[in-house]
């Protein structure tokens, strides 16, 4: 049946995207903590871990593109709206955060991880709003 084929394809792509995302985050953890806890600052192994992480990241990006292309019109619009909001909020919020740091209005240094979390949460909220809007 057509629906089964279409739905199956989306489910398959979502699963593949989840696997690539898991591989990327795992390789990032390895590249971050490996030098200190596993291979005792060995430069060769550290460089290799960073390269593996970058390759996994490229795989994840390509899989994400494939996943989005397999969605239907409305699902693509929901994704696009959420990504637009996340990008806008990320740029504006990120720059404000940097200014807070450079002008010493906050005591700690600006960390990229805060920005990544901020963008991710905004993207998830954007998706939820989109799903609710077109329910």
């Amino acid at each position: 049946m057509k629906e089964v084929t279409w739905n199956t394809q989306i489910k398959k792509n979502t699963k593949k995207l989840a696997i690539w995302t898991m591989l990327w985050t795992s390789s990032m953890a390895l590249a971050t903590f490996g030098p200190k806890f596993i291979w005792d600052e060995n430069v060769m192994l550290s460089v290799l871990a960073v390269i593996i992480n970058a390759v996994m990241g490229v795989g994840m990006i390509l899989m994400n593109i494939k996943h989005i292309n397999s969605l239907d019109d409305l699902q693509k619009k929901i994704q696009l709206d959420a990504m637009g909001i996340a990008l806008g909020v990320g740029v504006v919020g990120g720059l404000s955060y940097t200014i807070l740091d450079t002008t010493n209005l906050i005591t700690q240094d600006a960390e990229i991880s805060f920005l990544v979390i901020f963008i991710s949460v905004t993207y998830l909220i954007g998706l939820l709003i989109g799903q609710k809007r077109y329910k």
Binding site: K2, E3, T5, W6, D72, D73, Q75, Y134, K135
Partner: protein
């Protein structure tokens, strides 16, 4: 943009899920189009036109053209 999707679907005894199935889209998409919350892309409109064997302008009505 207004459309006659709900009527055309009912005339053919199709559920939203059936129609979504035929057009390879989600049921949510059919529902959003029927409620006028979302306008389909040209390829999807052509698919509908082919499925219902009607010209696009018999399915969709552009409010701005009135």
């Amino acid at each position: 943009m207004k459309n006659r999707l709900k009527v055309l679907r009912a005339e053919r005894d199709l559920t939203q899920a059936n129609l979504a199935n035929e057009l390879n889209v989600s049921r949510q998409t059919i529902n959003a189009i029927e409620k006028g919350k979302f306008d389909p892309s040209l390829p999807l409109a052509f698919k509908m036109s082919k499925l219902f064997q009607l010209p696009i302008e018999k399915i969709f009505e552009n409010d701005e053209m009135k």
